[in-house]
């Protein structure tokens, strides 16, 4: 059982860092990154802070030394040896779409530190400098290849492009997905294939919408009616958030928490066993990341009760931000 004490794991390894210096967790193969600063607000008063739905939020008290959330994405790329490719992609997207347009996600398979993937999300929002399309974003991804197309008549809210190390290195095409407005539905898009229903999302206020959240989890085929199951799916440490999202996926279900604070992010990364180097980077820079809100998600799948104690296990988790 992962306990609350483990959830306070930062206090366990912070002293270790202090003893070993800041280079302890950096990859021996790559130099220590210079973190990117928090970008300023837009010229027309656009927010500098967006959640994973690309909706603006008010940060906690800011300082001149604040860092951008996207540094987590860079640290993750660095740990997997694809920093140069990732940063080049970010720069192309930034140049082509403008600031504050890209939501990023890091996905980590449980107990597989090398099995990370990333996803970039592009929303249709009022602060978009100009309308853009998957085709336009695919051009910016080049030389990476993005599969799929979004016809003009689709009422899309967002599309995304997901990739792993090999895809970021250009060894395979990247898959894309589209999210249809007001439906909660997303579809996987691949060349020469019909759209494939992928996920269904429902967002609720964790306070006033708790009945709906519980109802959706109670009908999940992956969540068993174990007394501790709900506490694992909805840990109290994360329930002070903006929205809880329950998602039904093809082979798993998932819970997401939006706009959590840094302590909650660290709790989450610890509980889900994220690679120590990334957690250490976050701890190193905690004061400069504390102004940000973060978004989190965890996929869970039915599993033998005797193995998990609660009848399901978490198979993947993700953290999200915007840049």
């Amino acid at each position: 059982m992962v306990t609350g004490k483990l959830a306070r794991g930062a206090s366990r390894w912070l002293p270790v860092m202090a003893l070993n210096g800041l280079q302890l967790h950096a990859s021996p193969r790559e130099p220590r990154l210079t973190p990117w600063p928090q970008p300023p607000a837009g010229p027309r008063g656009e927010s500098a802070h967006y959640d994973y739905c690309l909706l603006p939020y008010t940060p906690k008290a800011t300082t001149a030394r604040d860092l951008a959330s996207v540094n987590l994405l860079r640290w993750s790329w660095q740990a997997h040896g694809v920093l140069a490719q990732g940063e080049a992609l970010l720069q192309r997207l930034h140049a082509g779409l403008g600031p504050g347009q890209v939501v990023w996600g890091i996905k980590q398979r449980v107990q597989q530190p090398d099995a990370a993937s990333w996803e970039l999300y592009f929303y249709r929002r009022p602060h978009n400098p100009q309308p853009y399309t998957l085709a336009r974003v695919a051009e910016l991804f080049a030389p990476l290849v993005v599969e799929g197309a979004v016809p003009d008549h689709w009422r899309w809210l967002m599309f995304s492009v997901e990739f792993d190390v090999a895809q970021l290195r250009g060894e395979r095409p990247c898959a894309s997905s589209v999210y249809i407005a007001s439906s909660g539905l997303s579809y996987k898009l691949r060349d020469n294939h019909p759209p494939e229903l992928e996920n269904h999302y429902v967002f609720r206020d964790p306070l006033t919408g708790i009945d709906d959240i519980l109802a959706r989890l109670q009908v999940s085929v992956h969540a068993q009616p174990h007394p501790l199951g709900l506490a694992r799916l909805l840990p109290p440490q994360l329930m002070r958030c903006f929205h809880v999202c329950v998602a039904n996926k093809r082979q798993a279900d998932a819970v997401y928490w939006s706009r959590v604070d840094l302590a909650q992010l660290q709790f989450f990364l610890d509980r889900h066993g994220w690679p120590q180097p990334l957690r250490a980077q976050i701890a190193d820079h905690a004061p400069q990341l504390a102004h940000l809100c973060w978004d989190l998600g965890a996929d869970f799948q039915r599993a033998p009760d005797e193995a998990t104690g609660v009848g399901f296990s978490f198979i993947k988790s993700g953290i999200y931000g915007a840049y």
Partner: protein, 429 residues
């Protein structure tokens, strides 16, 4: 959703400046972190022998600041075992130097009070209330919990000596696995001493955050024993208070539940380990808005959210459907006071009827009703460090959440309520 029920106070920088107050009439001063027992659930176990607590000079500076002490009616002196503190008499004197203080309470295990001489000294110095920890009804239970065999006899002697003194006796029982089956026995032990009150505090896992000591009792297991003990208190005319146990599970005794704590003067570091509380029904339950903390995170990690066992008091259309049993019925003097203001039960306020007036936490609660919708309005002594909807010269007024469709109606009644409250200079509590 996670909350802490105790509010923060700070011991640094000096002088002490309470950030918030939950019980504005009462201030707890924590000092002398030593103890002659070693209770397995001690809330200050980690600071015993490690922290000085609030030293006398700091407390004196606090006491001499009229801004800090305004409205304080009770000072609670606590440790550790406060009676081990050599300067305890001076702490009492400082407490009594605050003009508004009516009661000085000593939190103690009473093991050193049985002989009577120390008790007499404390009473002579100004202590008039003793809040005694009684965590079992027999020697084996007390010995298991306190880890000091033989302490039961000393506690019992102390209790009897206090009961025979002019001071008022209160007791506190922390409910844990070792004693939950004998709560009624504890009431039977104490009742002949005619205590002024008995508290039952469900385990507050400040030190054992992950419940490694397995002392937490599932709420449904504890519930019948707790209710029986509360029944016994009622039968013996002993006012009872329950803390950190969900109010919705207390049924007929829901009015006993009160998770509020005095403002506490203690080292800032103490609060780093305060356990967080949460309830899955927090957003839809009226109890959560009126002080029910729910369950500790340690509990939830151990036994789950108990979402099928807890029964939220669903918030109604005006956001204020509060079960009657959540508040204590008002006494005749309160009703007379309210009547003088035109705010007694039955009074008409712009089409709303005063349905009840009752003691609630540190103040009073009115329930205003109109066409099946209830609107709770809480009044307490004015304290500008706390949020309030409106303030009169002497009182703070808060009201429940209002549904959009009723805002216009509520906007009519609240000014009328406030206008009638204006002459009041104090609360009859």
């Amino acid at each position: 959703m996670a909350r802490t029920s105790m509010q923060r106070a700070t011991a640094a920088p000096s002088p002490l400046v309470p950030v918030e107050r939950t019980a504005p009439h009462s201030v707890l001063v924590a000092f002398g972190f030593r103890c002659n027992l070693a209770c397995t659930f001690c809330m200050v176990e980690d600071v015993l022998g490690q922290r000085p607590g609030t030293d006398l000079a700091t407390f004196r500076a606090f006491a001499q600041d009229p801004q800090q002490t305004r409205g304080i009616r009770q000072i609670v002196l606590s440790g550790g075992e406060a009676t081990l503190e050599p300067e305890l008499l001076e702490y009492i004197a400082v407490a009594r130097s605050i003009a508004s203080v009516e009661h000085v309470r000593i939190q103690t295990n009473a093991t050193r009070l049985g002989a009577g001489s120390l008790l007499n000294e404390l009473i002579a110095a100004g202590a008039d209330e003793f809040f005694v920890s009684v965590h079992g009804a027999d020697e084996p239970t007390i010995a298991e919990i306190s880890q000091r065999p033989g302490s039961f006899a000393a506690i019992r002697a102390g209790l009897e000596t206090i009961a025979a003194s002019p001071a008022r006796l209160f007791t506190n029982t922390c409910t844990v696995r070792a004693n939950f089956q004998q709560l009624t026995e504890i009431v039977r032990l104490i009742a002949p001493l005619q205590p002024a009150g008995m508290d039952f505090w469900n385990l507050w896992p400040r030190v054992d955050h992950v419940a490694m000591r397995a002392q937490i009792v599932p709420v449904k297991t504890l519930q019948p024993h707790l209710l029986a003990a509360l029944d016994a208190c009622t039968a013996a005319h002993i006012p009872a208070t329950v803390k950190w146990f969900p109010r919705c599970l207390l049924g007929r005794h829901a009015a006993c539940q009160d998770d509020s704590q005095p403002t506490t003067l203690i080292d800032r570091d103490y609060w780093e380990a305060v356990p967080a509380y949460a309830c899955i029904w927090e957003g839809v339950c009226a109890h959560a808005r009126t002080g029910c903390s729910g369950l500790s995170q340690a509990y939830i990690e151990t036994y789950g959210w108990e979402h099928t066992e807890l029964t939220p008091a669903r918030i109604g259309a005006a956001g204020g459907e509060v079960r009657q049993e959540a508040v204590a019925p008002a006494s005749g003097s309160v009703r007379a006071w309210a009547a003088a203001l035109g705010l007694d039960v039955g009074a008409d306020l712009a089409g709303w009827r005063v349905e009840s007036v009752a003691g609630h936490q540190a103040g009073l609660r009115w329930l205003l009703a109109r066409e099946g919708v209830q609107l709770p309005v809480d009044v307490r002594l004015r304290d500008e460090r706390l949020p309030a909807w409106q303030r009169t010269a002497h009182l703070d007024v808060m009201h429940g959440r209002v549904a959009d469709g009723l805002r216009a109606e509520v906007a009519k009644v609240l000014p009328v309520f406030l206008q009638r409250l204006q002459p009041a200079q104090d609360l009859p509590v």
